[in-house]
């Protein structure tokens, strides 16, 4: 048996004694997120066209789109942040925000009122143009 069996760990322990804490004092000290961190899905309501592709691509059915009422709903506790909706969105109005959504005590849906963009000016069909005689 060696003279001091604990000597292998001693250097590491002494170094730890004189180094700052490895733990973050959350929530006093805010966590650092990266640009890639999958926090929560955000929507730009003015760009959304209610095409429902996000709801179709969602593997956990967390997104619901009501085209008649012009509502976009997401259940945060169901969302697994796979970003399928972000990749599928043709108008790029869904984005990944790197802050986690707030903790909740009751499962609720977040509802967003969508104001679809004004339809593009349609050219008048041929043959109906007013002509002066």
């Amino acid at each position: 048996m060696p003279i001091n069996p604990f000597v292998k760990m001693t250097a590491t322990i002494i170094k730890s004694l004189f180094s700052p804490s490895a733990c973050k004092m959350y929530p006093v000290e805010k966590p650092v997120f990266y640009a890639n961190t999958r926090g929560h899905i955000a929507i730009q309501t003015d760009k959304c066209t209610l095409c429902t592709l996000c709801a179709k691509k969602c593997p956990t059915y967390a997104i619901m789109v009501d085209r008649n009422a012009k509502l976009w709903k997401i259940e945060r506790t169901k969302c697994i942040m796979c970003l399928n909706c972000v990749y599928a969105c043709p108008k790029k109005c869904l984005t990944n925000e790197n802050q986690y959504s707030s903790p909740v005590t009751v499962k609720t849906q977040e509802v967003f009122n969508i104001t679809p963009p004004a339809p593009a000016q349609v050219a008048e069909p041929c043959g109906q143009k007013e002509t002066t005689t």
């Binding site: 890639n36 796979c82 970003l83």
Partner: protein
């Protein structure tokens, strides 16, 4: 002869992160027979394949396990890609190998911490997990997730890592390796670690081979078998030799993992050095029709995926043979004749992942 007594071990036990139940038949302090039982966390993930689009199924495959999640997703994707004859870009293959090795480092350091906790070395456990935290940060920076990454997809990857980020990660890896050396030295040389592990739970090479042991459990018994050597993905271009130990006891299994961490750091550096340029994704058209066995090396050993597609968007059959399942018969053999006090350490040295095993 002393009276035979049955002692239940698990499914709830301080040393077990996941539930497995063992009925230990003991005479005095010696275990004479072990009857394992599984099935506490079965989730039916394999059946989901018949209801999920084959492109979305990779998200389910990743959720089979929280520690080797990337390699589960990789195994599924490789299987489907082989069926559909998709040629994944070289950069995607190298990045997959990079993330897979990072997962291996993460898994082994996590396990070393748990092992230290099992034989009562609390400060070593905390130092191991402190190092693991930096690896999780690399995962978060590159993939966006710390446990479930969601970067692997059929046909390539969803995310690329820029070359300057890779160089920065190389420097971080150097720091992590320097920290790791200090705790690896304790695992190698400390008296109390050797006292609890040397000569405990011995599995000879012959027994390990006959009972179908895989991964570090097999390599610790002196058999050089590593699925990475079959050259899937980028591993065909990388230089490495399987880590092998001779003794077959708990200490040898610990040492295999301790040395494999260095090997994984080396493989990651090779990936960064040889990283080819190019896209990481490709367009996937059509549906898989055919079947394929995909074999990969997970941190715990060889995993086998069987995938069968019938030309629709749903896969017909998806079966996973996980390394822990293969290591249960060797575990029963190891426990026979051991002291009751050594059971937690021996159970932990196969690195049991029960949620993988039951899916």
């Amino acid at each position: 002869m002393p009276k035979r007594t049955i002692i239940p071990f698990g499914p709830q036990h301080p040393v077990l992160p996941e539930p497995i139940h063992l009925d230990l038949a003991v005479r005095d302090e010696k275990v004479v027979e072990v009857i394992p039982s599984l099935g506490f966390v079965h989730r039916g993930l394999e059946l989901l394949v018949t209801r999920k689009d084959f492109m979305d199924m990779v998200l389910v495959a990743e959720r089979i396990c929280g520690i080797c999640s990337f390699i589960h997703g990789l195994g599924y994707c490789q299987g489907v890609e082989e069926i559909m004859n998709l040629q994944v870009s070289p950069r995607a293959k190298y990045l997959r190998a990079f993330w897979a090795e990072l997962s291996r480092v993460h898994s082994h350091i996590l396990w070393l911490g748990l092992a230290a906790d099992a034989f009562g070395f609390e400060s070593l456990f905390m130092h191991s997990w402190k190092i693991r935290e930096k690896i999780l940060d690399i995962f978060e920076e590159t993939t966006g997730g710390r446990v479930i990454f969601g970067v692997c997809k059929v046909g390539g990857l969803r995310k690329d890592i820029e070359n300057d980020v890779l160089e920065r990660i190389r420097k971080t890896m150097d720091e992590i390796e320097a920290d790791y050396r200090t705790i690896a030295k304790v695992f190698k040389e400390d008296y109390s670690v050797k006292h609890r592990n040397c000569g405990v739970g011995v599995l000879t090479a012959d027994e390990a081979y006959k009972l179908g042991a895989v991964g570090p459990t097999l390599r610790a018994s002196g058999i050089s078998q590593d699925m990475r050597k079959i050259g899937y993905g980028a591993y065909g271009d990388l230089n490495f030799e399987p880590v092998v130990e001779k003794d077959g006891d708990c200490y040898a299994r610990t040492m295999v993992r301790v040395r494999e961490v260095y090997q994984s750091f080396d493989l990651m550096r090779q990936c960064i050095d040889k990283m080819p340029e190019g896209p990481v994704d490709m367009k996937v058209t059509g549906f898989p029709k055919g079947e394929f066995f995909s074999r990969l090396e997970q941190p715990r050993g060889e995993v086998v995926y069987y995938i069968k597609g019938d030309g629709t968007k749903f896969i017909q059959r998806y079966r996973v043979r996980t390394p822990t399942f293969a290591n249960v018969p060797p575990l029963v053999k190891m426990l026979g004749g051991c002291d009751l006090a050594d059971v937690p350490v021996i159970v932990l040295t196969i690195d049991p992942c029960i949620s993988c095993t039951e899916r």
